[in-house]
């Protein structure tokens, strides 16, 4: 494969490719397709909430059981089949080898396998909609006894139980985790062992650090959940009774195993997006990243802390009050490093000459929206408030204000920023900005009012509020309708993105090597980088954020520039 010149068949080149850039693309496409599925589910149940019992355009009648199935799978899909592949796998694959200055991952074949296992996991998840009994509908956290008894038969037939919705969901999640584990190992080993000469630890761009930290958190936290999933699968298919209180088992045990992973998972999703901000903010304010090293230390600190706060999800399940206080304090402490990171980002912007490009808009939008999500999260962290707001729409609005900016604003910022590099064409700027504004406006329209519905006591996971006097009145019923209209418009405004994409792929201008005047190594090579990335391996002489250095001709110094 010298110089990447030899002939490859189409299948080798685009399907079963071991090139990290192709795999990154495959992950992005698979993630976006799953986002369409997850978005469609959201559209259907939002429509049902605003107009209960009415026929839903493009779908028809939604039964209560289907409603449960849809919200469960919406959560599952958006977190594990959209957030994870887009932020962790896709960005990690594109960026880690090019940013540390090497030709490919440490284990290219494992990397290819990682994607294909992920692909199969998506199929298995969606397949569950078509088995007898339908997909699992007991909430994305899969709490027993609902999940363990999903296949309601005391004497389960193994194969029938194995092809029930609950089992298929567990299998899909397990496969997905295997894929992510393979990817994570590749990211970490590539960063540790394959960096370009001179790329010392504190010259590695923030996003590479953050994707690696996220991968390590994932690898560490996922073990107990896999153990739990294994036990739950046995409960369903073989009838072991690990989580069945009647037989001496412990249903709360699942919650511990689940949230031991579930809380760190939030940071697994958050860190890559913060990494994206760490690259974009300095470039478009032409200033060095403020407190680069401290940001990394704060992230490491929060990584350690992230595995000891999980039980704040169980304040209502009932835990010892002394322990509840411990977990409350831990939860509030863990917001400190993240507040620190956001402050460092603000300080980076302070006094910079800010250029409002599309990626920058998405990055700034991320910060603004996430602030709302983060602040409401602080309320929920104290167990007194949490017991009131638990399982209400306040919680729903809160985590959409964190996860939506995180997953979609983070991904779109990255997409608009690195698209010219990895596809080699310039996206339309006007369409990009329209996409940003429509997404921001309609996102707020969809979720802001839900805070009030939640405070009024509107409980989530109910398909028809007609029987709930406290919320089946004005203004809350109108709020529901506004949210639904917002959600539909939010989905429709993504067509601007699709149009931009199609237009650019057909007739976009060829992108320059370094259109944003950025310093990191991926901008040194061609757009798009060829197989093997670099003609000669770059040598690194400086840190990643040398913008507006006094006494230089240019206002930036690329990492590979000697002086």
């Amino acid at each position: 494969m010298e110089n990447g010149q030899h002939q490859q068949s189409f299948i080798q080149k685009y399907i079963f490719s071991t090139d990290h850039k192709v795999i990154g693309m495959q992950y992005a496409i698979n993630g976006l397709l799953m986002a369409i599925a997850g978005g469609f589910l959201a559209y259907v149940f939002r429509y049902n909430l605003a107009f209960p019992g009415k026929d839903i355009p493009l779908f028809g009648q939604l039964s209560p059981m289907q409603y449960n199935t849809f919200i469960t799978n919406h959560g599952m899909i958006m977190v594990f089949w959209v957030g994870m592949p887009l932020l962790l796998s896709s960005l990690g694959n594109f960026l880690i080898p090019t940013m540390v200055g090497t030709d490919d991952m440490a284990f290219p074949t494992l990397n290819m396998l990682s994607f294909w296992i992920f692909f199969v996991s998506s199929i298995v998840l969606l397949l569950a909609f078509f088995v007898p009994g339908g997909a699992y509908g007991g909430g994305w956290t899969m709490y027993p006894p609902l999940s363990a008894n999903a296949y309601m038969n005391p004497n389960p037939d193994f194969f029938q139980a194995l092809f029930s919705g609950a089992s298929l969901m567990l299998l899909a999640v397990a496969l997905e985790f295997v894929a992510m584990l393979m990817g994570g190992i590749n990211f970490v080993v590539t960063t540790i062992n394959k960096r370009a000469k001179g790329m010392t630890a504190f010259r590695i761009p923030l996003i590479v650090w953050f994707i690696d930290i996220a991968s390590v958190i994932f690898m560490f936290a996922v073990g107990p959940l896999v153990a739990g999933a294994f036990m739950l699968l046995l409960d369903i298919t073989v009838g072991t009774g690990f989580f069945d209180a009647a037989r001496g088992g412990d249903p709360i045990l699942w919650q511990h195993l689940f949230w031991f992973f579930g809380h760190p998972e939030v940071y697994v999703l958050l860190l890559p997006s913060l990494g994206v901000l760490g690259e974009i903010l300095p470039v478009f304010s032409r200033k060095p990243l403020f407190a680069y090293k401290s940001i990394i230390y704060m992230a490491l600190f929060s990584a350690v802390l992230s595995v000891v706060v999980w039980a704040h999800h169980q304040f209502v399940s009932g835990i010892d009050p002394r322990m509840a206080t411990f977990f409350s304090i831990g939860t509030i402490i863990i917001s400190i490093p993240f507040a620190g990171i956001f402050l460092a980002f603000m300080a980076t912007l302070w006094g910079g000459s800010i250029k409002f490009t599309t990626p920058m808009l998405f990055a700034l939008g991320f910060i603004g929206l996430f602030l709302v999500g983060g602040l409401t999260g602080l309320f929920l962290g104290s167990n007194a408030f949490d017991i009131y707001a638990h399982d209400s729409y306040f919680v729903v609005a809160h985590f959409h204000y964190t996860l939506f900016p995180d997953i979609f604003f983070g991904f779109f910022a990255a997409f608009y920023y690195w698209f010219p590099k990895f596809v080699g064409k310039d996206l339309d700027k006007t369409l990009g900005k329209i996409h940003f504004w429509l997404t921001t406006i309609f996102f707020n329209l969809t979720f802001f009012l839900l805070f009030f519905n939640g405070l009024a006591g509107e409980h989530r996971r109910i398909n028809n509020y007609s029987f709930f006097g406290n919320v089946n009145k004005e203004p809350y019923t109108t709020f529901e309708k506004i949210c639904t209209v917002g959600a539909i418009l939010l989905i429709l405004s993504q067509f601007v993105f699709v149009i931009n994409l199609i237009k650019t792929l057909r007739s976009g201008k060829k992108a320059a090597k370094n259109p944003w005047n950025a310093t990191t190594l991926e901008w040194v090579t061609d757009s798009p980088p060829k197989h093997g990335n670099f003609d000669t391996f770059p040598v690194v002489y400086r840190g990643p954020y040398e913008y507006s250095v006094p006494g230089c001709n240019e206002d930036y110094l690329p990492q590979n520039q000697e002086n």
């Binding site: 970490v188 370009a196 690898m219 073990g223 107990p224 153990a227 739990g228 690990f242 045990l253 093997g532």
Partner: protein, 196 residues
């Protein structure tokens, strides 16, 4: 590919790719077993009587011998690694140790399997009690790891038939460390499930 260039122009490796990758995989695996073990301890602490009166006892003595067999297998892998610190030729020369290790691992697995058959016969099943469920789940999970470990040893001894080149060290490191993990975790499980 895996160019000569990388060797000259990179920051240098901390350890072989195989070793670094395997350390992270095993950290994850270790947490998997930690999850199973903590579930076991929690459930057991809450149980009225453990083991339940009507359930058969576990074969402590046979398994003690079997533990010794597995540890011996691990010992040969350690010997193998010590023999080939620096050269591939050495590794190829001492590949007999791998075969020995493989054989002992296979014996371990067969003895475990035959004990399972006996226990099932005596009425200990995955559904007879939580005691049985945990026994088969934890010991079964380890058994699957032993099986996977045997496959990696087989792969390694096949690779060692000839000079393979640049990634030899990676393969030796990862396969042998994986087997060592499978061996080392066993006494812990034996103590928790059979003895305590």
């Amino acid at each position: 590919m895996e160019n000569k260039m990388t060797a000259q122009v990179s920051q240098g490796k901390v350890a072989s790719d195989g070793l670094v990758g395997m350390i992270f995989l095993l950290a994850s695996e270790g947490m998997f077993f930690a999850g199973l073990i903590s579930a076991y301890i929690v459930n057991r602490a809450g149980a009225m009587e453990w083991p339940p009166a009507n359930q058969p006892r576990l074969p402590i003595e046979v398994t003690a011998v079997n533990t010794f067999i597995l540890l011996l297998s691990g010992f040969f892998i350690v010997r193998f690694r010590m023999n080939n610190r620096n050269s591939q030729t050495e590794a190829i020369k001492s590949k007999g140790l791998i075969k020995l290790s493989l054989l002992l691992g296979l014996i371990f697995l067969i003895v475990q399997g035959s004990e399972w058959v006996r226990l099932l016969h005596f009425g200990l099943t995955t559904r007879s009690s939580l005691y049985g469920a945990f026994f088969y789940t934890i010991i079964g999970a380890h058994g699957l790891h032993v099986f996977a470990g045997l496959l990696t040893l087989l792969y390694l001894s096949n690779k060692l038939k000839k000079q393979v080149g640049f990634n030899m060290k990676s393969i030796i490191d990862s396969c042998s460390i994986y087997w060592l993990f499978v061996v080392v975790i066993w006494p812990v499980l034996y103590y928790l499930v059979y003895l305590s």
